[in-house]
């Protein structure tokens, strides 16, 4: 941690501070709880002259992302942040940002979607946007939020990727909770993020960078019907595959300057594990605490924290879960009428073709910010041990912490 400054930051402040160090060209945002602090802090940086950013105070989230799309198309580094209904209002623009291959970075302070209206955390907002073509990174603590807020630029702007990135942090649990965060010196961040790089495209006036430039005009995102749309979607699918290669490259580079190593998945005590939990975000800190307790009691418990949900790390997941016989999946979002929560479905899809696969149980928890205590996680492990003993899954989808 040499040369790093230890700061007391909540998750939102960690985003704002990292973004200040990146010094993006444009920030366009609209305040919504629990993301507001990000934009508040950042607008202070603008007012104090600490950044060169053009701050656009828009009238809605739809306009926030639209402004970022225009700015990014013109070659700017553009940042925004939102949560819940704000993300819902951005909906059509999320697909346009990714379809136009604009590496915008957006922080999502995860919050439950209305209605009924609710402001605490769950993943219904970002999970709803899982098919919008954005890379999604989920953070466990403010340190991860800070680190992801820097790495996101390099990941999205990687020449083989060129996709927008969501940095997801649990509302209040992370966004409003102060933690110790090691921050890099400004010049190290500047060297790491450097300048935005552009891919070359063949426009109708010859080869040029993918950015709007009056000297060599391009038409970006025009009418694209039965004759070309499908090919462009395949390019996005391929870009996500390329991201699976690019993310470890960027993570390795970041580890060199920060001493903090990140991966798609972070396993914990998964050597001889019999019962494991897979999940996203801040809850995984609680799960780790419970795993330590259970290990002391002689239970072979483990966990896998998923940091990158999009692109979904299929091969890495198969390798990391290995031959664990029972796997519980934590879903902080419901998919109404679906076989299970979004993470559960993708985990089961991942293992379907494997000759050896774990028995998988979905645990939908924490909706609308319902507290998730260590006791609750312990209950999940006990339930998983029951599955192990019986050798079969009785309830595929369980709801944890809800009154019956």
């Amino acid at each position: 941690m040499k040369n790093q400054i230890l700061m007391g930051l909540n998750g939102d402040e960690a985003v704002a501070y990292a973004t200040k160090q990146v010094n993006p060209d444009v920030v366009a945002a609209y305040p919504i709880t629990p993301q507001t602090i990000i934009v508040e802090r950042f607008s202070e940086y603008v007012a104090d002259g600490e950044v060169d950013t053009e701050f656009v105070a828009v009238e809605s989230e739809h306009s926030a992302l639209s402004s970022c799309i225009g700015a990014a198309a013109a070659g700017a580094r553009a940042f925004t942040a939102t949560a819940a209904n704000g993300l819902a209002l951005m909906w059509e623009m999320t697909y346009i940002a990714s379809g136009m291959r604009l590496p915008i970075v957006m922080a999502i302070a995860n919050r439950a979607l209305s209605g009924p209206i609710n402001i605490p955390t769950d993943h219904s907002d970002s999970m709803g946007a899982r098919d919008s073509g954005w890379i999604q990174i989920y953070c466990e603590n403010s340190q991860e939020v800070y680190d992801a807020s820097l790495a996101a630029w390099r990941i999205g702007e990687h020449l083989d990727v060129q996709l927008p990135v969501m940095v997801c942090l649990d509302g209040f649990t992370l966004s409003h909770t102060m933690e110790n965060v090691y921050t890099l010196p400004d010049e190290k961040v500047r060297d790491f993020v450097s300048e935005r790089k552009f891919i070359k495209v063949e426009g109708h006036m010859g080869e040029t960078e993918l950015r709007l430039n009056p000297e060599c005009p391009l038409t970006m995102g025009p009418l694209d019907l039965q004759d070309y749309y499908f090919e462009h979607k395949l390019q996005q699918i391929d870009a996500m595959k390329q991201a699976l290669k690019a993310i470890p490259e960027i993570d390795a580079e970041y580890a060199k300057i920060s001493g903090r190593s990140y991966d798609f998945l972070h396993p914990y005590r998964m050597e001889d594990t019999e019962v494991a939990i897979l999940g996203l975000g801040s809850t995984m800190g609680t799960v780790r605490y419970v795993v330590d307790q259970l290990r002391e009691e002689g239970v072979k418990a483990g966990l896998v924290k998923m940091r990158v949900f999009r692109p979904f790390p299929v091969e890495e997941l198969i390798k990391t879960v290995g031959n664990v016989p029972v796997l519980g999946v934590l879903d902080k979002a419901a998919s109404f009428g679906a076989p299970g929560g979004p993470l559960y479905e993708e985990v089961k899809t991942t293992f379907y073709d494997q000759p050896e696969k774990p028995m998988v149980v979905d645990y939908i928890y924490g909706l609308g910010g319902r507290d998730t205590s260590p006791q609750m996680i312990r209950g999940i492990y006990e339930n998983l041990m029951g599955v192990l003993e019986r050798g079969s899954v009785s309830d595929r989808v369980c709801f944890v912490g809800v009154r019956q």
Binding site: G99, M100, R101, L102, Q162, I199, V201, E202, G203, H204, L210, L218, T219, M220, G221, P222, D224, D227, Y228, F230, E231, H232, L234, Q235, D238, A239
Partner: protein
């Protein structure tokens, strides 16, 4: 269409139009095309101004001409013609 379309690996990324709108011929979209009775045409040029595609030009002698590379057969010209000398006819 005999034109060879590029595959996804060849296409420019970023949903950049693979060709300009001049080269992007949309004339084959139409089911109908305007049939103009030039004998009754008063050369008012309203069809030229109303055409949403800019596909109707006015010739030197003042008569409208339909560019079939771009005409989508929408029928706006036939609707707007004050003397009803344009009739939409089915393409064969």
């Amino acid at each position: 269409m005999s034109e060879r379309f590029p595959g996804w690996r060849e296409l420019p990324k970023g949903a950049v139009s693979p060709k300009s709108s001049i080269e992007y011929k949309t004339g084959d979209w139409g089911v109908e095309k305007p049939g103009i009775d030039l004998g009754r045409c008063t050369q008012c040029t309203l069809c030229h101004f109303f055409c949403p595609e800019g596909a109707i030009t006015i010739s030197e002698d003042g008569h409208p001409e339909v560019g079939m590379d771009y005409c989508k057969g929408c029928g706006v010209c036939a609707e707007e013609c004050p003397v009803k000398c344009i009739e939409m006819v089915r393409k064969r």
